[in-house]
Symmetry: C2
Subunit: 141 residues, 2 copies
Amino acid sequence: MLVPPKTSCLNIPEIEKLLRSNKVQPSAQRIAICRYVLCEADHPTVEDVKSWADKNFPRMSLATVYNTLNLLANVGLVRQLRFPHLDKAVFDANMEPHHHLIDDESGRIIDVPIDAVNVETNISKTYDIHETSIIFNGTRK
Amino acid sequence: MLVPPKTSCLNIPEIEKLLRSNKVQPSAQRIAICRYVLCEADHPTVEDVKSWADKNFPRMSLATVYNTLNLLANVGLVRQLRFPHLDKAVFDANMEPHHHLIDDESGRIIDVPIDAVNVETNISKTYDIHETSIIFNGTRK
DNA sequence: TTACCTGCAAACTCTTTGCACCGCA
DNA sequence: TGCGGTGCAAAGAGTTTGCAGGTAA
């Protein structure tokens, strides 16, 4: 139930195709970042991506990391999230609608499928609600 | 139902008492900021408080605004919030548990009483949930 | 060749901090 | 008088931007 619907790992040609189909020129840097963010990483920060790049991709600048992540967010391949307990943005490759659970012990951010939650509210009488995002804070039992 | 449970307007002696009871020395600057944040303002940013101070309180520095708001947050008179669509922190004087509705047309943040919402989730089988915070995005019907 | 992607550095915004001054208890 | 609150400026973190050079189509 809490298993995140992780994007299955893509190989390089698949990533190239994915980028092209989103009208993004597949440069080496962009493919590398996609491999990490779409497959390997779990709610990475910019810093996480940069650290990974420093180890796995020679001489990638921080600006490129920012530019690429923003680009991926703009075309809808990732989503930028901000949580109250974090001062920096994190990126989420799970583009399905879902909620989040913060494990207060580990700090980990865990995806919660939309159908694991049921929300009813009477504010929908007054407002058209387009989006409902829930952050649970908890600890493992 | 959507009327925010606004802190009723306090006069200066009441604010002094409130500060003292929270072990905060009631300086002129702190009282002024409290008057604005607790009574007049609605989810103000630091910038909002600073602008207000520039008009209503002579020569208050930005550092004092930050220090005071952080102090008020630490003693539990206000809460610091971060929303995904805003890059800066906002402060909420409503200390009752509640959720938030972002009016996507005006950008306004509206308090939603806790009992206007009912949430059920099966993740509570695996996790002890201490807190549930919901952000609705919507537009007025 | 040309378009555009990257790296670098500087700039920008938000926030915190160090320090000297000042005022109130 | 002394503690502590304030103002100022500088520093710090995260992020964006401008520009020159390079790379791939």
